[in-house]
Symmetry: D2
Subunit: 344 residues, 4 copies
């Protein structure tokens, strides 16, 4: 199997490593005649880019997108759309110290076991940098979904145990943690800063909603819309779980509570998260994704080297102490890819 | 898209409706020379079969598997293996009362919206009966995995809020709720019976483990092993969430806690659930799947009919008041399919 | 890879061996609401069936199709449509003499090499009987294409060197060789009978046309419509070549001859065979498929046994001395599958 | 469907238009640890490049390959390998005269019908330039096949009716038409030059052989090795037919002639072209591909414009009067892709 392609109709293939010449994506299946909004594409990439604030990593990635194909006179042609993002930060000397070690919580160990060879610079292919290509593809998917009236949005629901209580979606991009609750945003920021002071990191939960989805999307039996979304979300390295609608809370619910009864005006509740039997029911699609704490921490950790000998290592350099804010656009991008795939 | 196929190498295509002539599966990619253990195949189907006890539905499904192809003189030939399970319970008169209504929590509404036509008898294709074909395929996958030493097992971790505290895997098949904790099993049974008395149902959580997985399975970037498992689990109609290892608890963990440090003897912990960067790390794969309460309840519920008019309906007949015990073999089957697919 | 599935949208998976319980097909992607014409389905199977005349094999295959799923009240539901054809002729004693030998021109040798095991009865999976499942699927594809006005037709263009000169399509089913030229049909029949008298067989060429194809079908770069059709035709065991429009004759044509110039009323010629740049151009799609002489001949032939020792073998029993007439519906079926796949 | 990906295991996705920023390919599934021979990669691209001689087009394409990902310290990493070839010749003014016209024999008309929009510069995506990306991918496939001892080679068998009679494979790259027969090469060159003088073009046939193929490659029923090769070859814009082994000549052969009898030392003949029942038999794979005359000719031709009005057009500029020599490496590349895909 070769797993660098996602989707069947809106088909995305990504490539690239953290410290190689660049990363990129080929999107096959973009309908012809779609207006290419390059400003929006760049803005989406900027949302994912680190180095925007105190609480995110200071590594400077320019992330300028170059469209290599598939667009003519400002419109898509129906031919594959390729986007290349050159890596600005390609000096590999920073990483020589981890060349022969396996960083805990990273894919170093498993890549070595699987491939017997590994581009150790910044994680290579397993670096979070790979998600930039997803965001670029997601931006194109969003342009397409916009023509259908479908909107994808996400936010930080929980960071280090601090939960958003209010859902002011207009506030999400106004604070550095992408919380929909400005008060929680302050506390979330404090939690992150405290972890950083302690050379540690925190995890969280991203909430994602898809609005204005028509009923009927998704393919039983195996390609249920929630199955596709779960696949998409768990394909993000930092994501460790997903739940739809009431999610794990169903374990303590009765059928009479959990069933979304139906009226001529729609459903009385949305415990299903907008999906019934794997098919969108016309209600908002709602899911949550668990994001693990950044594994890169500036602390001594036990590990082994390539020869299996015990070592202690400390990952030098500035690390993003919480991935949640930057995962918000990545989660949106992956959700947009799934929706676009199912609208075609 | 046509979503009735799962997997790339160990490729499963299912068909059939609850009240048609039968359901079945074609498995393409079974290696040649595998001994076909028909007794085991039938035993796995019997595990999923309803009507085994007081706390599961009394509908009598014989579920006799007939192998139509791909086996010669007791061994697989490398050609597609087709299995047919005839439906015994094919009299459709029971369902005429719901022909024009949408049962809350079921896929009736979404199938109607998607296809404009619907086999309303027992849910048709969206019936839980469809999972019998998965279990048949999963049984073959387990036979193959056995040759690799890989074992898949699952149990009821939580039913209606009652949690297993002990993990005596040998006990799982000794109680009707498939709990690894015999004491919890008693309470779980009570919770189910109480719900049934109240014409209601309860949800729960299935725990699944895959043992003896070699390091190196799974395909970055999009076909990470956890992404494939998430896809598989959310393709089960009753499953509403999945989490790997520490799962949603990562939201309140620090990186220093969550990272599984490495020693020459293996990992110090398994918060990753046996998967790093989407690739198996050699540790046990662990995940949990949330199972919703059975939507079929013998209570008055609000809904609408085909014309959009409000109705109240009550789903007559005996219903399984908790799906968790029967989902245990289904979860195992889907996990086995994913693992088999990645071992080829 | 597992190669028993064809198509992406109108997705066909076949199974079954010559002398197992049966053969069949699952079609995933049939649009909901299509009227299922079971009489037509059976008629198509009857067209492929051997034993219809002196010049075709006398083996009696009943080939009764049973629809197992996907149809409700006479219409397709959008769920996978499974069709099973039981094997009537399942007594395997006839084939014990070839169990340890490799018949020349058959797949015995290559199956043994690939799988290390082989259902030797009648060729098992590699038997021409497998094409019955294709014809069943093709019949459903034709029902769907009919709703689009698209018609697929084929005929015997050449049998044993005798070529059809007239193209009276209405005559094709009126003679046993399926020739569009009644006079040629007489000679073709003679050629076949002469070969049979000499315990030999003859090859030929099938001509296929697809009428009323809208412009725009086919997917560059790799899934050009002609590439898909070529894939489909060469997936038939007896087919050894395909050519579109002018075909191999282009080797001796000038560009000025071969180019189909365009007028407001359409193309001046059809050397392209209805496909330009892999996309249908609105003209009739025309291609020819070369069909090899039946490899089963009642003559002494040199071969080897499982241990590599030289043997001479003679394939007893009645064999079809020319496959062309029976390949006509198979070629049609495969063309119909490709077209249906591209119309979705 | 989105047709810009080829293969399942050695999975190639191409992008790019004739006059956009560049063309390229992502190869997913290249085994880790393969030595990347960039000199060979460039040499293969140079073989396809036009402008090498009098009888090929003079358009100057530098075709320098840049590897963007998947290679680390000279070896493949198992991650997707992306190759970009910038377009040197990007000035689009040359093509303004055909912006609103449909060139006969080109895909202009069908792209317009399919997509409603078209990059008319040099054919855009439908340009033969797209094959450079295939050759780049094929070069990597050849590097992989070399580790298995498998060799792919092709030559011009027929150009404008002149046929090669000798098969001196060592001579193929020593003459500008890539003929294995030096004497025929002289005549082939004359035929091409004569056509060019008359502002016309000629077609031909490419012969391809794959040596040292182990028995057992190919996947029945639908992904037979010949079906995959046919798909690959017909996906080349200029190819109009393919035949394996005896090919269309089987129409006039008897079974007793066509069957390749078997001896302890191998097959007595190779009418099958090295493939039986869709599986390689260990003999050399042999097939022929028909290549149409270049549709671009500097003559007045009838056509229509975007509004359906009749026009006459003449395609100015230098055109390659015969595509056969440049199709030789393209045919090799596609064959290498199929073989690599089946070796994984």
């Amino acid at each position: 199997m070769s797993g660098n392609t996602f989707g069947k109709n809106f088909r995305v293939t990504t490539f690239g490593e953290s410290h190689g010449p660049g990363i990129g994506v080929v999107i096959d299946g973009v309908p012809a005649g779609l207006e290419m909004d390059e400003t929006f594409l760049q803005a989406e990439l900027d949302r994912r880019r680190p180095g925007q604030s105190r609480v995110t990593t200071q590594r400077n990635e320019a992330d300028k997108a170059e469209i290599l194909s598939g667009v003519f006179e400002g419109k898509t042609t129906g031919c594959p759309l390729a986007i290349l993002i050159r890596n600005a930060d390609q000096h590999s000397s920073d990483y020589s110290n981890v060349a022969n070690l396996f960083r805990p919580g990273h894919a170093d160990y498993t890549y070595q076991k699987k491939y017997g060879i590994r581009d150790y610079r910044g994680g290579g292919r397993s670096s979070g940098r790979e998600t930039a290509a997803r965001v670029a593809a997601g931006a194109v998917a969003k342009m397409f979904l916009k023509t259908k009236g479908i909107q994808v949005r996400a936010c930080a629901l929980n960071i280090g145990g601090v939960k958003a209580e209010k859902f002011l979606w207009g506030e999400v991009e106004n604070n550095i943690v992408r919380s929909p609750d400005p008060e929680a945003a302050v506390k979330m920021t404090e939690v992150i800063q405290q972890a950083q002071l302690e050379h540690d990191s925190v995890g969280g939960v991203v909430l994602c909603e898809v609005l204005n989805v028509p009923a009927g999307l998704g393919e039983p039996a195996f390609d249920k819309l929630d199955a596709q979304l779960a696949h998409a979300m768990l394909s993000i390295g930092a994501v460790k779980g997903i739940e739809f609608g009431a999610g794990f809370a169903v374990a303590e619910m009765r059928g009479s509570e959990n069933n979304d009864t139906i009226t001529p005006d729609g459903f009385d509740s949305n415990n299903a998260g907008g999906i019934l039997g794997g098919i969108s029911n016309g209600d908002t699609i709602i899911f949550k994704a668990a994001v693990k704490p950044t594994p890169s921490i500036a602390r001594q950790q036990n590990s082994i080297d390539l020869n299996g000998n015990p070592v202690t290592l400390e990952i030098k350099g500035r690390h993003d102490p919480c991935l949640v804010p930057r995962m918000v656009p990545v989660v949106e991008a992956m959700a947009a890819l799934v929706l676009a795939d199912n609208c075609l």
